[in-house]
Structures are given as C-alpha cells and as structure tokens.
Symmetry: C2
Subunit: 438 residues, 2 copies
C-alpha cells in the first residue's frame, strides 16, 4: 500500500515536472519567436508600415462591398477588387505599379480577345460552341505559356501573361452560360481598376518604399563594404599598428560576402525601379541598368577579395620574411598604400553616389593607388628574374589554393553520397568476384 502511494506520488511528481518543462519550453519558444519578430521589425521599420498598409487597403476596398449604393453598382464583381488588392500590393512602389499595370492591361486585352472568341464560337451553333471555345482556350493558353520562356517577357511581363491566360479563360469559358457578357467584362474590369487604384494610392502616399531608392542605397552600401575590407587589411596587415595576431575571426574579412550574394536583390529592385515614376532625386528615365553594371563590377571585386582573404589570414601566421628586409619593406609599404588609397577612392565614390554629385574627375586617391601599384611593378622589374618568378609563383599559389577548395568539394560530395545512400560501385565488380571465389 505504501509502495503504491509512493509510486503514485512519484508518478504525480514526474508528471508535474514534465508539464513544467513543457511549459518552460513553450515559454522559451514563444519568447524566442517574439524576439525574432521584434528583430525583423527593428531591422527595417518600413516592414511594419507595409503590413499596416496592406490591412488598410483591404479595409478600404471592403467598404465598397458594405455600402449598399456602391454594391448595387458593381454587384458580386466587387470581390474582384478585394482579390486585386491582395494580389497586387507589393513592398515597393515599383513592384505594385508593375503588377497593377500588368494586371489592368492584361485584363483589358484578354477580355477583348475573349469577347471576339465568344462571337466566333457563338456563330458555330449550340453543339460547336463548347468545342470551338475549348480549342481557343487550348491554343491561347499554350502560346501564352510558351511566351513566358522568352527572357524579356519573363523579366517584365510574367505576371501580365498569367493574368492574360486567367482572364481569357474565365471570360471565354463563362461566356458559354452568361448572357450579359459585355456588362460582366466591363464590371470586372472597373473593379480591377478600382483595386489597382487603391493599391497605388496606399503604396505611393503612405510611407512609400521606392525600389529605385533602395537600389541606389544598395550600390553605395556595397562600395562602402568593399572599402571596409581594404581599410581592415591596411590597418591590420600593413599598417604601423599591425598586431600580427590571427585575423580569422575579424569581421572585416567577411564583409565582402554579402556583396557576392547581392545579385538577386539587385536584379529585382532594378526591374521594379524601371516602373517607378520620378521621385525625390530620381527622374523617370534614371539609368537604372547602370546600377546592375556597377553591381557586376563590385561582385568581381569581391571575388578577388575572397581570394586575397585566404592569403592574408596565413600571412600573419607565418609573419613577414626576414631574409630580404629591404624588398619586404618596399612591398609592404606599397601594399599599404594600394589598400589605403583604394579604400579612400571607394569611400569617395560611395559618398558621390549618396549625395548624387559628380565624383572629382581627378580622383586623387585612385591615381595614388595606381601609382603605388605601378611603382611596385617598376621596382620589381629592375630585377627581371624576380619579377617573372613572381608571376609564375602567383599562379602556382592560386592553383594550390584551388586544390584546397576542390578537396572541400570532394568532402561535400562524400557527405552527399552518404546522406543520399548512393550505391556502392565495388559491390558490382570486385566484391562479386570475391564472393564467387569464397
């Protein structure tokens, strides 16, 4: 009896303990999640504004439905305005404009073609009508879908083509049963225009987020990141205060990585920026694609920095050579100058972009950096032998660096083979032979 009670109280205690730990886990998860949300909001408060804007636009459009006189005008088509708002509202003005214009224009064109298709099908008699309509839908949907594989269409009009197929199918198919097709198409188009209009008003007039401005800031920010890397290199490796301690953990050695991955963001911002009207310091015909070219160059620069970073880390480990102090001092000074002046040139460019002023044509820092590079080359070319050995040495070093990277690839493939249970090639050849022998 006592044992039973003890068991019972033990069981109750363990239950309570489990419940407590489960509650604790729940509390921790909730707190963690709330912290994450707060961080997302703090990183860019415009996100909160955007969320509220979507809520506002939807509430505004639903008023159309609640107010009886407005509802009588549009009928059930009002729901298309709601649908439009949900689908068209994007984070940036350019995104909303691109989707909204694509939607309105595609609906207009597709509706027109669908009405023509309906008239043609109608003249084919009662039995022929659904067949002719089906053929039309099949052909147009296939052709339009194929057009989405054209890169230019994909980049700017992908959404428009979807809406084209959608509207054409909806109108063509429903024309079989609906009497007042023109009135229906007209109603639907006006509600879509109202939806787009509400979206545009909310995105443009309430805390607008311009894709063009974001793209402009991204370009300046990327230049700053490249400069930060060079400044770090200068002060930690070649400067007078260079400590010589391991650099592996330093933040500046990883700053170029986000530049390397900026292509996707840049492309989508550039695409949206092209739809935006003039705003702030930017005119409608601002050369947005120039930012993409600049971005490509920045990414090339960042990938050179990646190659450089792996050398710089090992540089401080092995320290400077002592055998040829004179040459080493020269090289070290030249390196310091190159990185310092390049960094300053980049900072000047980024501030020129930020303030939208012409960068000084005689960019002194740029010429100083080039001069340092040339000086070093001249210095070395006096010793022609050394110069040429160095060139081959660089290639050999880069190649042996590549070998290390390929070794990592090998490990990664091995890992994949293990996780994905790749089959064993031995079993089919050697092992079978051994099996037979034994």
């Amino acid at each position: 009896m006592e044992v039973q009670m003890e068991n019972n109280s033990g069981f109750a205690a363990s239950c309570r303990q489990r419940l407590c730990s489960a509650l604790d886990w729940l509390r921790c998860t909730a707190v963690g999640f709330a912290g994450k949300l707060a961080r997302i909001a703090r990183d860019d408060p415009r996100r909160v504004a955007h969320s509220l804007k979507v809520g506002l636009a939807l509430t505004l459009v639903s008023v159309l439905y609640y107010v009886t006189p407005l509802f009588r005008g549009f009928g059930v088509s009002t729901l298309w305005a709601v649908l439009t708002v949900v689908v068209v509202m994007e984070y940036t003005v350019g995104g909303t404009l691109s989707k909204g214009l694509n939607r309105a224009f595609a609906t207009l064109v597709a509706g027109f073609i669908a009405v023509v298709a309906h008239l043609v099908a109608n003249s084919c008699g009662e039995k022929g009508e659904p067949i002719v309509l089906s053929v039309f839908v099949f052909l147009l949907a296939s052709a339009a879908t194929f057009s989405r594989f054209i890169p230019e269409v994909k980049a700017r009009y992908d959404y428009g083509v979807t809406i084209f197929i959608l509207t054409f199918s909806l109108v063509a198919v429903s024309s079989y049963r609906v009497e007042e097709l023109i009135r229906l198409a007209h109603q639907r188009f006006s509600t879509i225009v109202i939806g787009v209009f509400i979206c545009l008003c909310t995105t443009i007039f309430i805390f607008p987020v311009w894709a063009g401005e974001d793209l402009h800031k991204l370009a300046a920010g990327n230049l700053d990141k490249l400069a930060e890397f060079l400044e770090g290199i200068e002060s930690e490796c070649f400067g007078e205060n260079a400590t010589g301690e391991s650099l592996e953990s330093k933040a500046f050695l990883h700053v170029y990585k986000s530049v390397l991955n900026s292509k996707a963001t840049e492309d989508s911002l550039c695409n949206f920026a092209k739809w935006e009207p003039g705003h702030g310091k930017f005119s409608f015909r601002h050369p947005w694609s120039q930012y993409q070219k600049l971005g490509t160059l920045c990414r090339q620069c960042a990938s050179s920095m990646e190659a450089l970073a792996s050398y710089v880390i090992t540089l401080t480990k092995s320290q400077y050579p002592e055998a040829n102090p004179e040459l080493c001092l020269k090289v070290r000074t030249a390196c310091g100058e190159m990185s310092l002046h390049s960094a300053k040139a980049l900072r000047e460019l980024s501030s020129a972009i930020r303030t939208m002023t012409i960068p000084s044509p005689t960019n002194n820092h740029m010429s100083a950096a080039i001069k340092a590079a040339k000086g070093l080359r001249n210095e070395l070319s006096e010793d022609a032998d050394l110069m040429q050995v160095m060139h081959v040495a660089v290639i050999a070093s880069l190649l042996s660096e590549l070998v290390t990277k390929i070794k990592k690839i090998t490990e990664s493939v091995d890992n994949l083979a293990q996780l994905a249970c790749f089959k064993n090639p031995e079993k089919t050849q050697k092992d079978v032979a051994i099996d037979i022998k034994s």
Copy 2:
C-alpha cells in the same frame, strides 16, 4: 507640268521604297523572332511540353463548366477551378505541388477562421457587423503580411500566406451579403481541390519535370564546368603542346561564370525539390539542402578561378621567365599536375553524382593533386627566403589586380554620374569663388 510629274513619280518611287524597306524590316523582325522562339524550344523541348500541358489542363477544367450535370453541382464556383489551374500550374512538379498544397491548405484554414469571424460579427447586430468585420480583416491581413518577412515563411509558404489573406478577406467580406456562407465556402473549396488535382495529374503523369532531378543535374554540370576550366588551363598553359598564344578569346576561360550566377536557380530548385515525392532514383527524404552546400563551395571555387583567369591571360603574353629555368620547370610541372589531377578528380565526382555511386574513398586524382601542391611547397621551402618573398608577392599581385578592378568601378560610377546628371560639386565651392573674383 513635266516637273510636277517627275516630282510625283519621284514621290511614288520613294514611297514604294519606304514601303519595301518597312516590309523588309518587318520580315526580318518576324524571322528573327521565330528563330528566337525555335531556339528557346530547341534548348529545352520540355518547355513546349509544359505549354501544351497548361493548355490541356485548362481545357480539361473548362469541361466542368460546359457539361450541364457537373455545372449544376458547383454553379458559378466552377470558375474557381479555372482560376486555380492558371495560377497553380508551374514548370516543375515541385513548384506545382508547393503552390497547390499551399493554396488548398491556406484556403481551408482561412475559410474556417473567416466563418468563425462571421459568427462573431453577426452577433454584434446589423450596424456593428461591417465594423467588426473590417477590424478583423485589418488585423489578420496586417499580421499575415508581416509574417511574410520571416525568412522561413518567405521561402516555403509565401504563396500560402497570400492565399490565406485572399480567402479570409473574400469569405469574411462576402459573408455580409451571402446567406448560405457554409455552402459557398464548401463549394469553393471543392472546386479549388479539383483544380489542384487536375494540375497535379497533368504535371506528374505527362512528361513530368522534376525539380530534384534538375537540381541533381545542375550540381553535376557545375562540377564538369569547373573541370573544363582546369583542363583548359592544363593543356593551354602548362601542357607540352601549350602554344603560348593569347588566351583571352578561349571559351574555357569563361566557363566558370555561369557557375558564379547559379545561386538563384539552385535555391528555387532546392525549395521545390523538398515538396516532391520520391521519384526515380530519389527518395522523399533525399538530402536536397546538401546540394546547396555543394553549390556554395563550387561558387567559391569559381571565384578563385576568376582571380586565376586574369593571371593566366597575362602569363602567356609575357611568356615564361628564362632567368631561372630549373625552378620554372619545376613550378610549371607542378602546376600542370595540380590542374590535371584536380580536373580529373572533379570529373570523377561529377560522374559519381550522375550515376549516384559512392565516389572512391581513396580518390587517387585528389591525392595526386594534393601531393603535387605539397611537393611544390616543400621544394620552395628549401629556399626559405624565396618561399616567404613569394607569399608577400602573391598578396601584392592580388592587391594590384584589385586596384585595376576598382579603377573599372570608378569608370562605371563616372558613367552613372554622367547618365544620371549628378550635380557638380565644384559649382558650389570653387567656381563660385572664381565667379566672385572675376
């Protein structure tokens, strides 16, 4: 009179000429466009199949509407099936599955919450109902929109959240005027499920395009491209038949570029592949994210190749040093071995991925490449002075390469400043001073 006639005939001739040239231009454009379409189709015939599949699915779903007994069951809601097919059909099975499941599940959840919201609002009296509904729509739409900024939600459930907002708003708003809300919601959900079902059947059973398979092939293809670069380097620079002519135009020197830009494709394929059921050689729980890790390593390798490429081009221009032939031969041989064996190791890995067999644990080529790299390092470390000078030399070379790249960035920003009409900073400081003086 004669002059007039001559003028007239001259005018007619010029008109005819213009018409001819316009027609010619039109013909050329049409032929060019047709050629472009043919190329897109030839590059990947699955695109044509996909286009026809979309047409087929739409035709199938429109039958629901034409056939009277079926139409009676669903009524106007049939149009939702058409809408679903247009929006859900994607190129890959994974894409269609991801969108279809997101759509069906989000509709179910949102419909349920909307009915509850309707019941709450209904109990607030006739005047309170639209206000309570508006508040609900505002709150849920804002919260759901904000959730799209959470990276995990954005990656996998972005479309589901859109549909959640859409369905919730549509059902909640229309609940104000529609009597048989439950019946309507039920009808709409069933038509959406039918639409998703038709989409899935067409994408899975007719020439399916599996995102997982494409991702798998992309990984193997990227390894092959890296190998091609190294093979080119080996034969053109270090091999016995190295010609020493300029390499700038060689194709193999640019092959790594497509690897550098493969991240976006890889990420979207990986995301879709995770939705796919087991197919062919891939099980449902295939380690898809491992391909992303492999891809990151391949891109790092490609960016080292970019750094190497610029050296290799200038290498053949300046030829090999003649001053220290013994060392140069050693370095050259070691470089040849490193690139040859690395290339073979990569080919072995790519074929292991293609055939899904475990790569041999003692990858001979990999160890040969590592051995060559080590051998070179040992050889050089005998001459400690040279070894250390070389290390610094590599850094100096890379930095001076960086300076050249930053110069290009400067030119690009100058170009931007000119195209975007940046303002002149001089005018505000120096020039004004000069103006005053003069």
